[in-house]
Structure formats: structure tokens, C-alpha cells
Amino acid sequence: MTAVGERDAAPAAGPPGEEAKPAAVRAAMRWHQSSRSDRAWRRLLVGFGLTIPVLLVGIAALLAHGAWPALKKFGGGFLTGSQWDPVSDAFGGWPFVFGTLASSLIAVLIAVPLSIGLALFLTELAPRWLAAPIGFATELLAAIPSVVYGLWGIFVLVPFLRDWVETPLSDRLGGHLGIFEGPAYGPGLLSGGVILAIMIVPFVSAVSREVISAVPRAQREAALALGATRWETTWQIVLPFARAGLIGAVMLGLGRAIGETMAVTMVIGNTPQVPHSLFGPAYTMASVLANEFAEASGDVHRSALMLVALLLLGITLVINACARALVWHVNRGPGGSR
């Protein structure tokens, strides 16, 4: 038996060797000898902690496994192929990737100025009695179910955009600018982008508001005391100070827009093609999964959808990771809150 084993087996009174150990060391050793129930408890907690990573890896593995046949068949061409034809088993994912990225980009372009403007209004300008209800109302927007946004989109937003935005733009600028060309159907890329924009405003503005109000008052005071106007203070001091956090907020919004399914499916037109213009019908990765998976016509079709899902997961993970990294950077980095 080794010395360690002997010590473990020794009773509390212990042999002389045990006595020689400093009291602190003995205390530490006792602390490590956890009881049976302690060990069970610890295992349970570790189990909880591992649930999420295991789930994530499991999902990715499942998707990868399902996507494997399609990946073998189409290879990298899947990403660039524009044909999506279940009848002849020809599958290219580019229209969906394009639709997702383009609609999310439109959403971010609309939502970010709106959200940061709103956050600035609430933190820098609005008196408290006004800021509280407006902030609350904005957060309520986040609680509206996606399908309700979709219905509102079909009955209100799409007709409005068609008659008041798309048709006039297409009539006046369509001949000169390709992105405004062609008939305004209503459901299409622009409608999808706008509805996504409305849906991400609560998130982007809430994070922006937090980031902006974390800018120390001493920074604003320093600028104002030097004779800067409020406008100058906001643009030259507050926003640069909050810059990294704001980029994080934008990425968070982008991540949400990319993953959003229901509302965008209801207004984007669901046509697997790269649209001819901003007004043309399109399709997103999330939408095609929702629409086609249940009645996939064959193994290749199902596998191709799995591949789309895998791509979607990859893109959202990368964007969310970037967002986290940036928010984390704000809290520790040199320009951060110190």
C-alpha cells in the first residue's frame, strides 16, 4: 500500500505522520473529502451545466449527419447554385442564403439608426417621466408573437409598402436604379426586411440604451464643461465611448433577424430565386425549412434542407459569437467602462 492509501484509511486520531501536518493542510484535506450526497449534488449540477453544450453539439451533429448526402452530392456548389427544384432533385441554396442575408441587412439598416436614435433620446434627452413609459412600450414590442407580426404584415404593412413606397419608387427611379426596378408585388424582400426591422428594434434599442447609459456622467460633464454642445457631446464623446457595445447591439439584432422565421415567411413571397430587385419576392433559409420540411419529397430533398439548416446554424452562431465578443470587449477593453 502506498503512503497515500494509508493516510486515507487512517482514523481521525491518525498516526504520527498525520499529526506532523500543519492544521491548515489537514483542514483543506477534510474539505475535499466530500460526503456521498455532496458528490451526487455536484454530479447533478455538472449535468445541468453540460446540458446546453451537449444539446448544441447534438443538434449540430444531427444536422451534419442529415446533410451529409446532400453535401456529398452537391459539394461547395450547393452554396452557389440557384436552382431549387425538388422534382428533378436539383438543389442549390444560394437564393435562401441571399434572401436571409439581404432581408437581415435591410432590417439592420433600418433598425439601427432608429434604435440608436431611440436609445439616445431615452438616455440623453427625455425626462424620466417620459423615458420610462417609452422604454417600457419598446420592450413590449418584443413580447408580440411573431405570427401576429406576420398577420399585421400581410394586412397592413405589405399593402402600405406596395402603394406608398414601392410603386412610387419603382415609377420614379425604377428606370435608373436596378434595385427599384420592376413591378411592386407587395410581398417581397423589402417587406420582409421592414418587418424584421420592426421586430429587432426592441432588442437593439434595449442593448444600446444600456451601453449608452453605462458611459460615465463624468465623460459628458468633461465635454460640456469645455463648452461642447449636447450634440457635440453625444457625437464626439458618448457614442465613441459606447462604440464597441453598440456594434455588439447591432450584431445581436442581426443574429435575431437571421433566425426569425414566422413573420418573414408570411411576407417575403417565398419564391426560391434571387429577386430581380428590392421589390421582388424572395425566400429565406428559415422560411424554406418551415415550409418544405414536413412534406419533403425525397431523401435528397430532405438532406438538402438539412444542409440549409446547418448553414443557418453556422451563420447565426458566428454572428452571435461576434456580438458576445464585442460586448465583452466593451466591459473590459481600454475604451470600456472604467
Binding site: 456622467r217 459628458r220 465635454a223 460640456l224 469645455l226 464623446i237 465611448f241 481600454p334 475604451g335
Partner: protein, 281 residues
Amino acid sequence: MDAQPLQRPRTPIPTAAPVPPAQQPGPAALPTAIEARDFSFWYGANQALNGISLVIPDRRVTAFIGPSGCGKSTFLRSINRMNELIPGTRHQGDVTLRGESVYRGEVDVVGLRRRIGMVFQKSNPFPKSIYDNVAYGPRVNGLARKRADLDELVETSLRSAALWDEVSDRLHTSALGLSGGQQQRLCIARALAAQPDVLLMDEPASALDPIATQKIEELIYGLKQQYTIVIVTHNMQQAARVSDFTAFFYMGSLVEMGRTDLLFTTPKEDRTEAYITGRFG
């Protein structure tokens, strides 16, 4: 549940009737830069200033002394309306700068703050380069049109704040890389570069070593030819060395203000004497 109501002797808030400026030997005999008339200030329900009336003479150094929490910073920050950025605050009475009201009527607050430089109790450099920190005031105020002028202004300001020698070779590195004392001197340089005519300094030397402190004191001495300076300090020797006039604050009230030499040798009020001889505070 029959606890006696708390029997605590209520300490009356000392409301020393301020000495009318005309009877003071010093401040009132000189041209006035800043004057407060019965000025009170509240943070929410908490009254921080209690009917302050005083006169700060032009082109002299005035020191504010008093125990911690007595309202020195609050009064200083009332002169350039910094306190109004804090929600829930209010004031009563008025402060004038060269005869013009700071609070009443249509005051151009931005213009007012351009004329008043401020060094804050806690140093607050921008997370920008050293150069850009000092150049911020001149830039927003349009003081230096040409790059060379701005360079020169930045250099003289840094020299005045006794910082030039330490930073001249790294002007374009982040100001956050400076030590605490260097950051405080940077804030002094930044205030000077905006070329104000009143300079409010809230404990500018509290984070500095004796050598830098001495440089700042020399700077204050040199600046009083051109500037009206108000300095808050906990250091009685410093007040005695640099200031022409001293105001003693206690619990939100002005107890006594007068020529520094007289106030430190023959204070009129018992509380002043107790404070400067170190019996409290």
C-alpha cells in the same frame, strides 16, 4: 410594539448669517468676477447648500475649505451649472458671472461654460489620445484655425500643467495609459487649453506627489494674472500658500470668507478656528 419615539437632540443646522460683503476687508473692495446671492441647492430632498452669499474677486485666487460633504464641490459645480445634469436637483437664488445671471432668463449655457474652465474632483480624461484630450476644448470652441496653432496651444497648456516633459514623446497615445496624477494634470491642461477666464479647480492636487503639487501651485500663482481662480482644497497649507481669499464652508453654509492671511490668523468664527486648528473635520 410600544417603542419609545427616538429621543435624539436635533442638531440645529448652523445658518451663520453671512457677513455682508461690504464689511469684509477684502473681496468686496475688488472688481467682482462671481457673486452668489442667497444660493441654495438640493439633491432631491437633501439640501446641500443653504443660502450661500459670497463674492469672488476678479483675477485673484479664492480657496474653498471645509470638512468633507460640506458642499464645496456642489457650490463650485453650481457656478457653471454642472449640477443641473444630475436628475432631481433644484436650486434657489442666483449666481452671477461678471454681473450676468447664470441661472435667470435666457442664458446661453454653452457660452457660459466656454468662459469657465473646470477641473473635476475625479480626473476624467476622454479615452482618446493625450493630444486630442487637450485639443478638445479649442476644437469645439474654434480657437485654433491652423494645425500649427493647435499644436502650440496643446504644448503650452501641457507645459502649464507641468506635464509636457513627461508626455511630449507620446502625445498620440491613449490618455488612459497615464498614471492617476498625470491624468489629473492632463485634465488641468485640457481646461487651460479652452482658454477660459474663470478656472474652477476641485481638489486639483489631491492625487499628486509633492513635486507635481508644487508645480500646480506655481501654475496657479502664475495664472492669476489672467484668470479668476477658485480652488477647493483639503490642504490648509495649500490654501494658505496659493490663495488670496478663503471661504470656509460648513454643513452647506458659508461660515466665513475673507482675506486668507486674516482668516488663518484671526478667524472671526469659532467654527472656523476649530477647523483650521484641526479640532474637527
